[in-house]
């Protein structure tokens, strides 16, 4: 059977599917209506069961029988979950200790456990994929947040299996995104081999921040943090508060306790919020909010940004916090990868410039499609592998490996320290690089290998706390102090080894081409080979 593999982003709000297209690009699958996002929702109405868009469409009318946000509950026990049982949420009960939804379906009460609901959603996703592709899907890679436990991954796998999906691998969301952005995957193509990315994923229900390093194309997560009060939905809530207040001003009706009215407002608010990412003003209409009264207004982007100011500030705080935890300066971040629909908010991006004035921010990938694309990329890499090989490769004996703590490098003729193997490099490592000789006629080169340490940072001036009025005017930035985070630099500390290559041919300064190979194995054992390319003269030294 032909192998057809897909990447599935099963988000708590939206799901999406990506496949490798014949042209070598990864396509996100669109349904018949051209929609690329499949709402993660399951609904029951009368005798019918809906998934995705259809489920969402009837959500406002039928909130008690519409299930959303169930991904968060995967692998959780009933006692562990907070159940917001009210007029706008379905009732939840415990079934075999698992959280389960009590819905009315076919004129009867039905109970579906979370894994069962997940299976329904994944089955729907699989059907969409197979309809689009016109063939059976033979395997899929899925992504989960970094904070998913092993148990949660297992439950997700068995739900997916029950949905008829052959799960090739489950990977982490920020890692999938890094793959989608092809971050550090082409080290030979002039792309620096060693980089650090800050991956910012703002979905609907959470803001996930990850610091990821890449060394010779291999990823290591250095630090993660997430805040569920900073998802796109929190921004919707700010708008809801604003609209409710405006509504009250106009109608004298207070809807703050009216869950159904608030749900209606929120549905419209989200649309307005999304539109505000494109235009400086967007209409907001809610029909029959309460007592048959409608709400119509145009909301200004600036106004929205002002009301969300605190949230944006909190996002930056979380980022600064994670940098501190990772013991990194802002300058150590080489790239910012944006993931999740809510990172499209212009203010979110401009606000990042407070911390990272010049760091490249990647926008070459639709932020809310990155995870699906990364999953598809991984799926197509391992499509031909035996299942047991994939499993074997993800075992701890392979994935848990020693990493360097300090940079290792050479000292050049001007006394400068050149990093060859940076910190956070997984071992074993092999680096091949080329250098020349300092002087004309120099017939011996001295290769001194050191471990290094980061130079002290220039003293950072305390920032004056300033009320941000929410404008992303250029000249406002000018007013701020001229602080540009510096790239970390290093100096040599401990001499590890010295190697001398002798009897070199006479040549002009810098004209000899000497190739060095440095290898460090998992125990720290170091091997150095120096070879002059033209004469073939070489020396090899190995630490004990």
């Amino acid at each position: 059977m032909e192998t057809v593999v897909i990447g599935i982003n099963f988000g708590s709000t939206n799901s999406s599917i990506a496949v490798l297209a014949p042209n070598g690009h990864f396509n996100v699958i669109a349904n018949a209506d051209g929609e690329r996002m499949i709402p993660s929702a399951v609904g029951f109405q009368g005798d019918e069961e809906f998934c995705g868009t259809q489920a969402l469409q009837q959500a406002v009318r039928n909130p008690k029988n519409t299930l959303e946000g169930f991904r968060k509950l995967i692998g959780k026990k009933f006692e562990e979950v907070k159940v917001p049982s009210d007029a706008t949420h379905p009732d939840m009960v415990s079934k075999d200790g698992l959280p389960a939804y009590k819905v009315s379906f076919k004129d009867q009460e039905h109970i579906f456990t979370v894994p069962e609901v997940v299976t329904k959603q994944l089955k729907h996703i699989l059907e969409e994929a197979e309809t689009y592709l016109g063939s059976k899907v033979t395997g899929a890679v899925l992504a989960v947040p970094t904070y998913f436990t092993e148990h949660q991954r297992e439950v997700l796998t068995s739900s997916a299996t029950a949905a008829g999906i052959n799960v090739l691998q489950i990977i982490q969301e920020p890692v999938a995104a890094a793959l989608a952005y092809n971050f550090g995957q082409n080290p030979t193509k002039g792309d620096a081999q060693d980089k650090t990315a800050l991956i910012l994923d703002m979905g609907a229900s959470s803001f996930d921040v990850t610091v990821l390093s890449v060394r010779s194309g291999i990823y290591t997560i250095l630090e993660t943090a997430h805040d569920e009060s900073l998802g796109g939905s929190s921004f919707d809530d700010e708008l809801v508060k604003f609209i409710a207040a405006e509504f009250k001003k106009k109608t004298k009706l207070d809807v703050t306790g009216n869950k159904k009215a608030l749900l209606k407002i929120k549905t419209s608010a989200e649309i307005t919020k999304k539109n505000l990412s494109r235009t400086p003003g967007a209409p907001c209409s809610v029909e029959s909010v309460a007592e048959g009264m409608d709400f119509h207004a145009t909301i200004n982007r600036l106004r929205f940004e002002l009301m969300s100011n605190k949230l944006f500030a909190k996002c930056n705080e979380l980022i600064e916090h994670i940098l501190e935890k990772a013991d990194l300066t802002a300058g150590a971040i080489d790239e910012i990868l944006l993931v999740g629909g809510a990172t499209r908010m212009p203010k979110f991006q401009s606000k990042l410039r407070d911390i990272f004035p010049e760091t490249p921010m990647r926008l070459d990938q639709e932020s809310d499609e990155a995870i699906a694309v990364g999953c598809a990329a991984q799926a197509s890499l391992i499509a031909g592998f035996e299942k047991e090989d994939i499993v074997a490769s993800t075992k701890e004996n392979i994935t848990v490996t020693p990493h360097t703590v300090k940079p290792i490098g050479v000292v050049g003729s001007k006394g400068e320290f050149i990093t060859i193997v940076p910190n956070h490099t997984p071992l074993p490592v092999k680096r091949v690089f080329e250098f020349g000789q300092a002087e004309q006629g120099q017939q011996e080169v001295y290769f001194a290998l050191y471990e290094g340490e980061q130079d002290a940072l220039p003293e950072k001036k305390e920032k004056v706390e300033k009320i941000d009025i929410g404008s992303d005017d250029e000249d406002e930035d000018e007013d701020e102090e001229d602080y540009i985070p510096v790239k970390p630099t290093f100096h040599q500390t401990t001499l590890l080894a010295e190697v001398v290559l002798k009897d070199l041919p006479v040549a002009k300064a810098g004209e000899l081409k000497i190739e060095a190979t440095l290898q460090v194995d998992i125990t720290g054992k170091t091997t150095i080979t120096l070879r002059e390319k033209k004469s073939g003269k070489q020396v090899r030294a190995e630490s004990a």
Binding site: I171, I218, I221, L381, S393, I398, V400, T401, V432, E498
Partner: protein, 432 residues
């Protein structure tokens, strides 16, 4: 990676005889998880699983890539080479023991074997490479054990090198070396045709005459045995050479192994020549055609002798017979002449008589019919005389019996038709 830096000369304190010195180990590394995604990770996993160093892995991958590329370039569709089912045990073979592997089976050519053409080997190889490439997604890094892939490469190398292929074909254990049992009851042709066909592969001279069948001519059969008694075989036994085991790299050891191998090869070669001779001997002794040819030869010899004797006898008899015949013929001729003469006389007489009779008939005819005068004219004596004169003239004019008969017929017809006077006149005018 080309880094923009230069290195100095060693410091003054560096002692001239040293090339390296190690001073400290790196700070103890910390364990951390790497993310199992992307092709670089897969390469890491592959190195770990196969316990390969970086360069070993690079070599394996680049070889595999080159092979895949070469195989793809040889883009030749069709042919079922290499399609046979694969023995799971074979797939698990250790490539280190490649010399003992079935080079044909590895490429899926166990049916064709020595008959496989270079093209077929290439095609089979390409298929196998595509199927067993350790790195199906070139450069993305596979984790599959590539042991069998190495076996494939070894088999391909062996079979594409004419010298090595001969060495292997010489000892291919799947092709029988049997000498057929001479007491076998099975059909001679069925038994020996495949044997000679298979032995032919070793012949330096090609094409090789084959056994043929009951219809083969004596010339063909004799040519066949002649060829096989002078069989010139390239079969060689280098493949069986004992490797000089590791650690025996002294020159004496090497020479010792070489000598031993050489002797062993010579011995095997001699045994093989004997074996082929035995097959030919046996075939010759059992060949039904040879028996027939012998019998025929005997018969022919006998037949010749008898024929000669018969011929002599026949000659004498023929001579005697000829003489008798000659005499008889002479006699017969004489008699015939006599008879002829007598016959001639008789005929003349008869003829005369007939003529006379005819003339008499005509005279009677004229008398009975008014002397052939026109009707109404009375025949006076003058007229009668004149008519009879005319008739005489006519009868003189008509030579021989035939003409007389013709004249009579014409005149009779004239009488019948009533125009006898004119007919008579015309007839007289014509003949006299």
């Amino acid at each position: 990676m080309v880094l923009d830096f230069l290195l100095p000369s060693p410091p003054k304190s560096w002692s001239a005889d040293k090339t390296s010195a190690f001073h400290a180990g790196i700070t103890a590394p910390t364990k951390a998880s790497i993310q199992p995604v992307g092709r670089h990770f897969l390469a890491h996993a592959r190195r770990y699983i196969h316990s390969r160093t970086f360069s070993e892995d690079e070599k394996v991958i680049s070889e595999a890539e080159a092979a895949a590329k070469a195989a793809l370039k040889d883009d030749d569709e069709g042919g079922s080479e290499g399609d046979e089912p694969e023995d799971p045990a074979m797939l698990k073979r250790d490539p280190k023991d490649w010399k003992d592997q079935d080079q044909y089976a590895v490429l899926g050519l166990s049916k064709l074997r020595y008959r496989a053409t270079e093209d077929q080997i290439r095609r089979a190889h390409r298929k196998k490479v595509l199927r067993h490439h350790p790195d199906k997604k070139a450069a993305s890094g596979g984790l599959h054990d590539d042991g069998f892939f190495k076996c494939i490469q070894k088999a391909f190398e062996t079979l594409m090198d004419p010298v090595k292929r001969r060495q292997w074909d010489s000892v291919d254990p799947a092709v029988s070396d049997d000498v057929p049992n001479p007491k076998s009851k099975s059909d001679f042709y069925k038994l020996y045709t495949p044997v000679f066909a298979r032995e032919s592969r070793f012949s330096n001279t090609q094409p090789v005459p084959q056994l043929g069948n009951a219809q083969s001519s004596q010339e063909e059969v004799e040519g066949f045995y002649d060829f096989w008694y002078k069989f010139d075989s390239w079969r060689t036994f280098e493949w069986m050479d004992k490797e000089d085991g590791e650690g025996h790299d002294s020159r004496d050891d090497k020479r010792y192994f070489e000598k031993k191998n050489k002797a062993e090869r010579a011995k095997l070669k001699k045994e093989d020549n004997t074996r082929v001779r035995e097959i030919v001997d046996q075939a010759l002794s059992l060949d039904p055609r040879i028996k027939i040819f012998k019998e025929q030869a005997n018969k022919q010899r006998n037949a010749k002798r008898l024929e000669k004797e018969a011929a002599e006898k026949r000659a004498i008899e023929e001579a005697a017979a000829a003489k008798i015949a000659e005499e008889a013929a002479a006699k017969a001729a004489e008699e015939a002449e006599k008879t002829a003469r007598e016959d001639g006389k008789k005929n003349k007489e008869l003829l005369k008589r007939a003529v006379r009779k005819e003339k008499k008939n005509l005279k009677a005819l004229i008398k009975d019919n008014n002397y052939f005068l026109p009707a109404g004219e009375t025949a006076g004596p003058v007229e009668v005389e004149k008519q009879l004169e005319l008739l005489d003239a006519l009868l003189d004019g008509a030579k021989g019996l035939d003409q007389l008969e013709a004249v009579r017929k014409t005149l009779e017809d004239g009488v019948k038709n009533g125009n006898i006077a004119e007919v008579f006149k015309a007839e007289v005018a014509k003949r006299s």
